[in-house]
C-alpha cells in the first residue's frame, strides 16, 4: 500500500509569509482605498489629519497647504505641507514607510490618528499604483537642517527602503511636507476632496488652509479664530475599556513588580482598595509578578475587573470644539439664516471618555424640500463614507424631528433646510473598521447623541416657531385687513347699513381680537 501523506504536512507546505503589499491589495477597502476617487481623497485626508494632530501637539495655529497636481487622466501628485513640529531624522523612514508605526496607538488621548496606519498606507498605495517614491521634507527647528527623503516600502519585510537621504535648504522654521504620487480620480461634489476640506475647515475654525485643486484653482479657507482648541490630555486606560490581548501585553510591558501596583499605576481610577478587591475576586495573589501571570489567570482578572465597581475615567482630557467655535465654523462655511450649537457634557463608554457635540445651520441657501444634510465628525475629522452604517446616522433617524419642526418619514432622515453637524470626541473612537468611516453602535454613544440632538432640536423648534409664526402672523393680519372691506360691502348690501361705518367698526374690532387670533391655531368650527 502507498503511504499517505499526512494532511497536516500538505497544509504546512501551503503556509507562507504574507507580505504587507499582498495584505494591503486584498484589504484596500478596509483602509479607504476601494476605488481611485476614494484613494485620492483618503490620501489627502490622512496627510491633513496628521498635520492637524502635529500642530495641535505643539499648541500652534495650523497653516496647511494642500496641492493636488494632475499629471494625466488618472495620475496625481498630492502635496501637503504644515507648520507642525517636524519629525526627527531617524523616525522619518519608519513613519512613512512602515505600516503600523505611530505614536498615537498606545496613547489614551484624543487625536485624529490612532492606528499608525494612515500615512504609510497612502505611501504604499502610491507605490503600488505608480512605482514612485514618497518624498518627505521635514525640519524640527530654525537652527537644524531640513531633511529630504525619498522612501519606498520594502513590501516583503514591511521595512523602509531609503532611496534618497539629503539635507536641503528650507526657509521654514519647522514643519513637514509630504508628496505622494498615485493613481486616482478627481471629481467635485459629495465625498470629494473639496468637500472633505470644507468640512475640516468647519470643525477647525483655527485652521488656515490653502488648497490648490487639480484645475490649478487656489482656494482659501481662512482662520476665523486665534483661539486654540483646548489641548487634549493623555490619560491612563480605564480598566473597563481593556481587552484580553491588550491586558496581556500591558502585563508584559509594565514596570510594576506586583499585580496590585500594576493595577494601581497603569490604569486610572484604581485605588489600593479597588486593586486588592480585583485581585481577590480574580483569585490571584496581589503580590504576584505581573509578567508571571498565566493566560487563564488574565481571563479571571478581566472577569474580576468587570465585576468590580470602579469610578468612571476623568473626562477633562477631551478636546471638544466648543459651542462658540462650532458656531463660528458653521457660519464661515455655510450661508444660512439661523445657527445653533450644543456641546454635551462628557460621558463614558466601556471605560473610554467621549463627548458629543452638534450644530445646526437652518434656512438660507440650504434646499428646503430635501433630506437634511448630515455632517459627521470624529475627533474633528469629517466622516464622508458609510453614512448608513454609522451610529450617528442611526441616532438622527431615531430622533422624532417632527417635534422639532421638521417633517420626517419613518426610518429616514428628516426633511428641511438644515445642515446638521454631529461630532464625537473621544480618546478612542470606536470605528466599525480600520478605514475610520463609521462609528460603532455602542448604546452609551447612541444615547448621548440622541440627547444632544434633542437639546439642539429644542433650540431649532423655538426658532422655527418664532420665525415662521411671526411671518404667518403678519400674513393673517394682512388677510383680515383685506377681508374687512369685503365683509362691510356684503353686509351693507344685506342690511342697508352704511358700508364705511361697518368697515371702521370692524377695523377697531380687529385690534381688539388680535391677541385671541394670535393664540388660536385655526380651531375647527
Amino acid at each position: 500500500m502507498k503511504e499517505e501523506v499526512p494532511i497536516a504536512e500538505k497544509l504546512a507546505k501551503e503556509q507562507r509569509e504574507i507580505s504587507v503589499s499582498q495584505f494591503f491589495t486584498k484589504n484596500k477597502h478596509l483602509l479607504g482605498f476601494d476605488n481611485p476617487r476614494k484613494a485620492l481623497s483618503t490620501t489627502v485626508k490622512e496627510l491633513v489629519d496628521n498635520s492637524l494632530d502635529a500642530t495641535e501637539e505643539i499648541n500652534i495655529l495650523p497653516e496647511i497647504i494642500v496641492e493636488i497636481k494632475q499629471l494625466n487622466d488618472t495620475r496625481f501628485i498630492v502635496t501637503v505641507e504644515d507648520n507642525g513640529p517636524g519629525i526627527v531624522k531617524e523616525q522619518i523612514p519608519k513613519i512613512f514607510a512602515k505600516l503600523l508605526y505611530g505614536s498615537k496607538f498606545f496613547k489614551m488621548a484624543q487625536a485624529r490618528g490612532q492606528q499608525g496606519l494612515g500615512v504609510s498606507s497612502s505611501v504604499l498605495y502610491g507605490q503600488l499604483t505608480t512605482g514612485k517614491s514618497a518624498v518627505i521634507t521635514s525640519k524640527i527647528s530654525r537652527n537644524k537642517p531640513a531633511h529630504y527623503y525619498e522612501l519606498q516600502i520594502d513590501t516583503k519585510k514591511n521595512e523602509p527602503n531609503v532611496i534618497k537621504d539629503m539635507i536641503i535648504e528650507w526657509d521654514k522654521d519647522h514643519g513637514t511636507k509630504v508628496k505622494i504620487e498615485l493613481e486616482g480620480f478627481y471629481q467635485k461634489g459629495k465625498q470629494s476632496v473639496d468637500e472633505y476640506l470644507k468640512q475640516t475647515a468647519i470643525v477647525n475654525p483655527h485652521l488656515n488652509l490653502i488648497y490648490i485643486n487639480p484645475e490649478k484653482y487656489k482656494m482659501e479657507f481662512p482662520r476665523v479664530t486665534k483661539e486654540l482648541p483646548k489641548k487634549s490630555k493623555e490619560i491612563k486606560p480605564h480598566p473597563y475599556g481593556v481587552e484580553l490581548g491588550v491586558l496581556m501585553q500591558m502585563l508584559q510591558d509594565t514596570k510594576a513588580t506586583t499585580l496590585q501596583s500594576f493595577l494601581q499605576n497603569d490604569f486610572c481610577r484604581v485605588s489600593a482598595k479597588v486593586a486588592k478587591e480585583i485581585c481577590k475576586k480574580a483569585g490571584i495573589y496581589e503580590k504576584s509578578r505581573p509578567k508571571r501571570i498565566a493566560r487563564e489567570e488574565v481571563e479571571n482578572l478581566l472577569k474580576a475587573i468587570k465585576e468590580t465597581r470602579i469610578i468612571a475615567p476623568p473626562t477633562d482630557c477631551l478636546s471638544p470644539i466648543g459651542e462658540e467655535l462650532t458656531l463660528k465654523g458653521l457660519k464661515k462655511e455655510i450661508n444660512a439664516d439661523f445657527y445653533t450649537t450644543v456641546t454635551r457634557p462628557p460621558s463614558v463608554y466601556r471605560g473610554f471618555p467621549f463627548q458629543i457635540e452638534t450644530g445646526i445651520a437652518f434656512g438660507g441657501d440650504i434646499p428646503k424640500d430635501e433630506q437634511i444634510k448630515l455632517l459627521r465628525f470624529a475627533n474633528k475629522v469629517p466622516l464622508q463614507y458609510q453614512q448608513s452604517a454609522c451610529a450617528i446616522t442611526k441616532s438622527v433617524i431615531n430622533t422624532a424631528w417632527r417635534n422639532y419642526g421638521l417633517s420626517q418619514s419613518r426610518g429616514a432622515l428628516p426633511i428641511g433646510p438644515v445642515i446638521l453637524l454631529v461630532h464625537i470626541a473621544s480618546v478612542w473612537v470606536p470605528f466599525t473598521s480600520e478605514s475610520k468611516e463609521a462609528i460603532a453602535h455602542y448604546p452609551e454613544i447612541i444615547k448621548e447623541i440622541k440627547l444632544a440632538l434633542q437639546d439642539i432640536g429644542r433650540k431649532l423648534v423655538v426658532y422655527i416657531r418664532k420665525h415662521i409664526k411671526s411671518k404667518e402672523q403678519k400674513e393673517k393680519i394682512d388677510l383680515f385687513e383685506k377681508y374687512i372691506p369685503e365683509l362691510a360691502y356684503s353686509l351693507s348690501k344685506l342690511t342697508n347699513h352704511e358700508k364705511d361705518e361697518i368697515e371702521s367698526k370692524l377695523k377697531k374690532l380687529l385690534k381688539k381680537e388680535l391677541p385671541t387670533l394670535e393664540a388660536e391655531n385655526g380651531a375647527k368650527e
Partner: protein
C-alpha cells in the same frame, strides 16, 4: 309678493344679527344648525327625518372660519339683492359665478369652486329654514315628461301627450305647476334619459296608460317635488 318679503326678511335678519355683534364690540358670529348624522332626528308623526337643534357658531375673527363667514354673508346678500328683490332665479352655478370675484388687493377669490358656494347655500337653507327654491336658487338639471297629463306652467296650458320625441321639459322649480287633467294609471320614473327616449319611441305610455318621467341622471329637486305633488292629488 308677500311670500318674497318673508325670504328677504329672513336673510336681512341674518345680516342684522352680525351688525348687532359688531355694534356690541363682539366677534361677529353666525349660528348654523349642524348638518351631520349626530344632529338628525326621526319625526314619528310626519315619518320624516329632520334636523335636530344642535348649532355651530361661525366667527369672522377666526382664522379657520373667516373666509366661510365672508362667503356666507356675501352669498346671502346676492340672494337678497340680485334674486329675491328683482324676482329672478339663478342656478347653483349662476350663483357661483356671481360670487366669484377676487378680493381687492389679494389673489384670493371669495369662492374658488362651485362646491364652496353650494355648501354656503345649503347653510343658508338651514339658517333661514327656507328651501333653495324659495330662495330663488334652482337646481341645475331638469327632466322630461310624456303622458296623458295636462299642466299649467306660468299660465300656459301644456298637453304632455303632444310633445313629440323630447316631451315636456320639467322646469327646475315645480312648486307652482298646476295639474289640469291627469288620465294615467301610474308614473314610471327612470334616471336614464336613453331609456326614456326608447320607451317614448315605442309609445310605451300609450299602450300602458302611464306617465314617463326622467331626470337625466340623479333625481333633481324639481322632479322630486313634482313627484310629491302628483302623489298627493
Amino acid at each position: 309678493m308677500v311670500q318674497k318679503n318673508k325670504q328677504i326678511d329672513k336673510l336681512r335678519e341674518l345680516g342684522e344679527k352680525v351688525i348687532k355683534d359688531i355694534d356690541r364690540n363682539k366677534n361677529p358670529s353666525i349660528t348654523i344648525p349642524i348638518r351631520a348624522l349626530s344632529n338628525v332626528i326621526f319625526n314619528e308623526k310626519t315619518k320624516t327625518i329632520e334636523l335636530g337643534n344642535k348649532n355651530a357658531l361661525r366667527y369672522f375673527f377666526n382664522v379657520a372660519h373667516s373666509k366661510k363667514f365672508l362667503q356666507t354673508v356675501e352669498i346671502a346678500s346676492i340672494l337678497k339683492k340680485e334674486l329675491l328683490e328683482t324676482d329672478k332665479h339663478e342656478h347653483l352655478r349662476g350663483v357661483f359665478y356671481i360670487a366669484k370675484r377676487t378680493i381687492h388687493g389679494t389673489n384670493v377669490n371669495i369662492v374658488d369652486e362651485q362646491t364652496e358656494s353650494d355648501k354656503v347655500i345649503e347653510d343658508l337653507e338651514v339658517i333661514t329654514g327656507l328651501s333653495r327654491e324659495q330662495l330663488h336658487v334652482s337646481a341645475n338639471k331638469m327632466g322630461s315628461m310624456v303622458g296623458n297629463i295636462v299642466l299649467i306652467d306660468s299660465g300656459d296650458s301644456i298637453d304632455c301627450s303632444k310633445l313629440g320625441k323630447g316631451g315636456y321639459s320639467v322646469p327646475s322649480i315645480t312648486d307652482e305647476l298646476v295639474f289640469k287633467k291627469i288620465n294615467a294609471k301610474y308614473v314610471l320614473y327612470m334616471e336614464k334619459a336613453a331609456v326614456f327616449e326608447r320607451l317614448n319611441e315605442d309609445k310605451f305610455w300609450i299602450k300602458n296608460n302611464c306617465i314617463l318621467v326622467t331626470s337625466q341622471g340623479q333625481t333633481t329637486r324639481g322632479i322630486r317635488i313634482w313627484g310629491i305633488h302628483i302623489f298627493c292629488c
